[in-house]
């Protein structure tokens, strides 16, 4: 079993497809992950399941991997096993709050795809403003805090960090492609990349809010929490005042248009 605990999760799922359903049952969302290089032991450890649930999960995994053997399941080493209730430290809470605005924008994507008219100036403007939101807020304002500050507290070779960085890069590729699609007035390609970005970020945010951030919070010392908080303040100040407000205004305006409350683009 030790050998499989140290195997990348994607490899295990390909070899033992039944594991996908088992992991899904425990809300371990590795199946759609674009990288999948996390080791099974890390995947189980990072999800912080209650001890009995973790033993049950490992028993079921062992049942799939070794159907004819009675396998002894080693315990996954854990620094702190804490309550599943999500209570973030102040700097991590700030990142979670920024996700709320990004999720509001993502919720508008189906409406944009359904109604967009690339021959119309106002629609092109709205979509390019959306691309500016993704680049200026979701990426420069939010992801930069992770890449330049938060992830520096960890080994950037950790699979979970590499997965997040890969998601950021894929998101940038989608935005580049969707801007090109607006310029070429190609609605099919635009829809493909808008939707691709929406799917990617929705899953990415869920992974961060429910798995990565709680795991990070469990490992941060009080001193590190204070340091992160101060560095996030500095980062926001460097970006200039009003970034949050400016992009909130954009999302609110787009929401009003989507609800038909303000026909003016």
């Amino acid at each position: 079993m030790e050998k499989y605990l140290n195997s990348p999760i994607k490899e295990l799922i390909s070899r033992f497809p039944k594991l996908a359903d088992i992991l899904n049952e425990y809300n371990i969302g590795c199946v759609p992950c674009s990288v999948g290089s996390c080791l099974l032991k890390d995947v189980v450890g990072i999800h912080n399941l209650p001890e009995d649930e973790e033993q049950e999960l490992m028993g079921r995994i062992a049942g799939v991997v070794y159907p004819d053997k009675d396998i002894r399941i080693p315990k996954i080493a854990r620094k702190n096993r804490v309550s599943k209730e999500l209570k973030y430290s102040p700097p991590i809470k700030r990142l979670v709050d920024e996700h709320i605005l990004i999720k509001k924008f993502l919720a508008l994507v189906p409406w944009i795809i359904e109604n967009m008219d690339l021959k119309s100036d106002k629609w092109r403007r709205l979509i390019l403003d959306g691309a500016d939101f993704i680049r200026g807020y979701a990426d420069k304002y939010h992801h930069a805090k992770e890449e330049d500050i938060l992830f520096k507290y960890f080994d950037e070779n950790l699979d979970i960090i590499k997965t997040m960085l890969a998601d950021h890069k894929t998101g940038r590729d989608h935005v580049k492609a969707l801007i090109e699609a607006v310029e070429k007035q190609d609605p099919k390609r635009l829809a493909e990349h808008l939707n691709g970005y929406k799917e990617l970020l929705a899953e990415h945010i869920k992974k961060e809010d429910e798995i990565l951030y709680p795991w990070i919070d469990r490992g941060l010392s009080v001193t590190q929490v204070g340091g992160l908080f101060a560095k996030f303040n500095d980062a926001d100040e460097k970006q200039g005042k009003g970034v949050q407000e400016r992009y909130e205004k954009f999302v609110m305006k787009a929401e009003r248009i989507a609800k038909g409350k303000n026909q003016k683009f």
Binding site: S89, P90, K93, V222, V225, G226, F229, N233
Partner: protein, 154 residues
């Protein structure tokens, strides 16, 4: 069992096995003097950019490993939110720790008795009136020294 939980008599003399193990000796982790909130100066060097522990007086008597688990690596100030006079000065002192000493974090340790929550409220009031913002953590102990709750409050 009626009356104020803060002053109600309770007897904990019967301890579980192992609770009286006195082997080994611990060094004090106190790295400063004075510690009482009225007496401290926020300008003292040990407060500058420090992680500060603001502890209710009774906490150190309840927590068996107060020095090792909570005081180590931190600067401290203590007070009683129920009995101390001049608590407006406490707000000003904590505000000065935040703005002038530019402390990194504030951890407020209190007992589970209701009157003790006043110390967290005092810290939050100081934070609201300060120019800088810092993370504040609240740790509440049971009367027998176990952690009842531990959470970031702002």
């Amino acid at each position: 069992m009626d009356g104020c939980p803060g002053s109600r008599m309770q007897d904990f003399r019967k301890k579980p096995e192992g609770a009286h193990d006195e082997s080994g000796k611990r060094a004090s982790q106190l790295a400063q003097w004075p510690i009482q909130l009225h007496l401290i100066s926020p300008m003292a060097p040990y407060y500058q950019k420090a992680d500060v522990l603001l502890s209710a007086d009774c906490v150190a008597y309840a927590a068996g490993d107060f020095h090792k688990d909570y005081l180590k690596g931190k600067s401290i100030a203590i007070g009683c939110p129920k009995l101390d006079e001049g608590q407006d000065e406490y707000v000003e002192k904590i505000k000065s720790l935040i703005d002038d000493a530019k402390i990194n974090t504030l951890t407020v340790m209190t007992m589970q008795v209701p009157c003790c929550a006043g110390l967290v409220a005092t810290a939050e009031e100081a934070l609201r009136s300060a120019k800088r913002k810092i993370p504040i953590k609240s740790i509440v102990l049971t009367l027998q020294g176990d952690v009842l709750s531990e959470e970031w409050v702002s």
